[in-house]
């Protein structure tokens, strides 16, 4: 007895499951979101640290800031560029990047990250 039908069915199901992303995304362009800067951010020209650093390490930096501010009362951050910044998500970061939905959420959603910043912080009201 071969049970060929059952095996082919199983194989199709198995391969189909493994190819799920291909079917799921079929026909979609699925381009990575563009980073949108506000006028103010553009004017500032540079962030706290270089962009490549900010891309990969911002979450780490924010967490450290929180720790230092809340626990140790250390309120200023000295950037590698030598400039000092006040450690504050709302007061510093969002001062330039007031467009949370475009600047934060877009990319976070794209890579499936759900940070808990806004559990405590108040979301900025964007003008749309």
């Amino acid at each position: 007895m071969y049970d060929g039908g059952k095996i082919i069915t199983g194989l199709v199901i198995g391969v189909g499951l493994l190819l799920f992303p291909v079917f799921y995304n079929a026909g979609k362009a699925a381009k990575a979101p563009e980073r949108v800067l506000t006028e103010k951010a553009k004017a500032a020209q540079k962030c706290v640290e270089p962009i490549s650093f900010m891309k990969t390490e911002h979450m780490k930096m924010l967490d450290e800031w929180r720790q230092q501010v809340v626990r140790d009362d250390v309120r200023y951050y000295k950037s590698t560029s030598g400039k000092e910044y006040y450690k504050g998500l709302q007061t510093t970061c969002l001062d330039c990047h007031s467009n949370k939905s475009k600047f934060c959420d877009q990319c976070h959603d794209y890579v499936g990250v759900d940070p808990y910043c806004w559990d405590c912080h108040i979301e900025p009201k964007e003008n749309q």
Binding site: M1, P33, K55, Q67, G112, V113
Partner: protein
Amino acid sequence: MNFIFSIVLSSVVVLILVLIPWIGVGALKLDTLFGIIIPYIALFVFFAGIIGRVIGWARSPVPFRIPTTAGQQWSLPWIRRSPLENPKSTAGVVGRMIFEVLTFRSLFRNTKLQFRSGFRIGYEWEKWLWLFALAFHYSFLVVLIRHLRFFTEPIPGFVNLIEQLDGLMQTGVAPVEGFMLPSVMISGFVLLGAVTLLVLRRILIPQVNYVSLPGDYFPLFLITAIGLTGVLMRYVLKVDIVSVKELTMGLVTFRPSIPYEIGVLFYIHLFLVSVLIAYIPFSKITHMAGVFLSPTRNLSNNSRFVRHINPWSYPVPVHTYDEYEEEFRDKMIAVGLPVEKMPEEEAGSAEEEKE
């Protein structure tokens, strides 16, 4: 060839596999080769290989119905049967296979020989293999599902849900400032832990050590390397995952592109995964497909009431009753055993006797 040779060989091979993309991308800038061409080749090899393998198995028939029965058969109506351990129908087999594949039923049965001198042999509780195997396979599955976030857009709800559950533990800045950010994915560490335990068990249990081949250590080491590079990328030497997703989405939508600067660690991770994927069909990892085809598990014990056909059955020479009687007829008649054919003279005399 002993375990030391096997371990050294497997480690060296994995080390070389780490160095290849390191040099290839880090020094030679072969991003396209390692980011697009090799992953595609690996996927092709995997699918072609695994389909070929399964078809190869399927081409051989199952001539006899040989389930290993692990419980009471279906016989008299008042005897309680074990529908899952000794299935009589397809439904039972499906149940048995579900338990086998999802809970590793047979491994759960495992015992450990306790051979004490003085003629005292015991078979003791041994669930470690089962536990490690379960931890290993399930954490691997969770890791795999979590990675769908790089291969789907928009990300389906179940992927986010699994990620949230997996990241239930938020350590924040502990233990080292900023180390465990974003939230900790338990599965990754369980996977690495389970792999380590499986390696240790393979080395430390003498019987398992003795039968192990390089092909048993290699995948464990390879998976360790994959896990370590993944963990490193997530927690320590971070990469720009928006770019990573650009690359991976390019792969699954067949519009491959290499985004600007992802970081060599990612390419090492990707290359090791490619090697693993391509290695699967030609190694013992095919058990993931083979377990479904195992005739001692996927057949019902029904061959006394449903006829099973052997497709290559052929007629065989047999010793017939006639040949048998021919040889022993006189002796049979002498003791009064009935025969088919009375020899002519004796037939006459036998009748006379009767009269």
